[in-house]
Amino acid sequence: MQLTSKVSQQQLATATGKPLTALRFTGDISSTSRDAVVGSYVALSTSAVKQILLDFKGVEYLNSSGIALVIEVLMAANKAAQIVAISGLTPHFTKVFTMVGITRYATLYPDEAAALASL
């Protein structure tokens, strides 16, 4: 349980060889995480990046203000016709993301490997 959110970025390829940019979050995702969540998305090239994976495996605390930042990323990605996938949520936050309707705009995968195999 840390107050800081951290993000790391990596270029991956899906099972079918398509490029995918993974943003991996650790620490807390809350109202103070705008830079980590929205900032790291904005820093990506909209023209070059077509598929994005948001990975929450290392996240220790997540609240509705943090989820709102994820929705902001989905909004921008939707406008840019980018595909967003989400991985690494606990069963609880899989339920929460489903409850708020995020699954209408992003597919949830148990882990990165499952996302890479399907995308």
Binding site: S30, I71, M99, V100
Partner: protein
């Protein structure tokens, strides 16, 4: 033997974001003591965290010198949590977030806290301030209920 027959714990946190995690941990520990399953403890954690954030932000306007009081009371088969702030409170029912409207910008991205609280616990009541000038939200989580299904 889980504790399931009375006892209450009070925790007071400053109205500063981040401290909701302290109240959340206290509530989680209390629920574990009562024998709640892990998934119900997770439901409670999110509900208590969201209720504390609302008390900190909307009730006490982030004035760190004003505490948010969290009363945790064990009743047979249930845990009651009351989150008190010094604001006027509210009695409105939470609106269900509309992700399509959020995506088009017609609805704010945030504004999901009360919805999540209501969706995750078994009973919830928002009680606006009476003459005392103290408002609170009251949550109840029951031992015999299963975790909510995905909607």
């Amino acid at each position: 033997m889980p504790i399931n027959n009375g006892g209450s714990v009070e925790v007071r946190i400053p109205s500063r974001l981040g401290f909701e995690k302290v109240a959340m941990s206290t509530a989680a520990s209390m629920a574990k003591l009562m024998g709640f399953t892990e998934d119900r403890v997770e439901d409670l954690k999110t509900a208590v965290s969201e209720a504390c954030i609302n008390a900190i932000e909307h009730g006490n306007h982030l004035d760190a010198s004003v505490p948010v009081g969290v009363m945790l009371s064990i009743f047979p088969g249930e845990l009651e949590v009351k989150v008190h702030d010094n604001g006027d409170g509210m009695s409105a029912a939470p609106s269900v977030p509309d992700i399509d409207r959020k995506m088009t910008g017609e609805e704010e991205a945030r504004g999901m806290g009360m919805f999540l609280i209501q969706a995750l616990v078994d009973e919830v009541q928002w009680v606006p301030s009476s003459t005392q000038g103290k408002s609170f939200v009251r949550l109840v989580i029951r031992l015999n209920k299963e975790s909510e299904e995905c909607s």
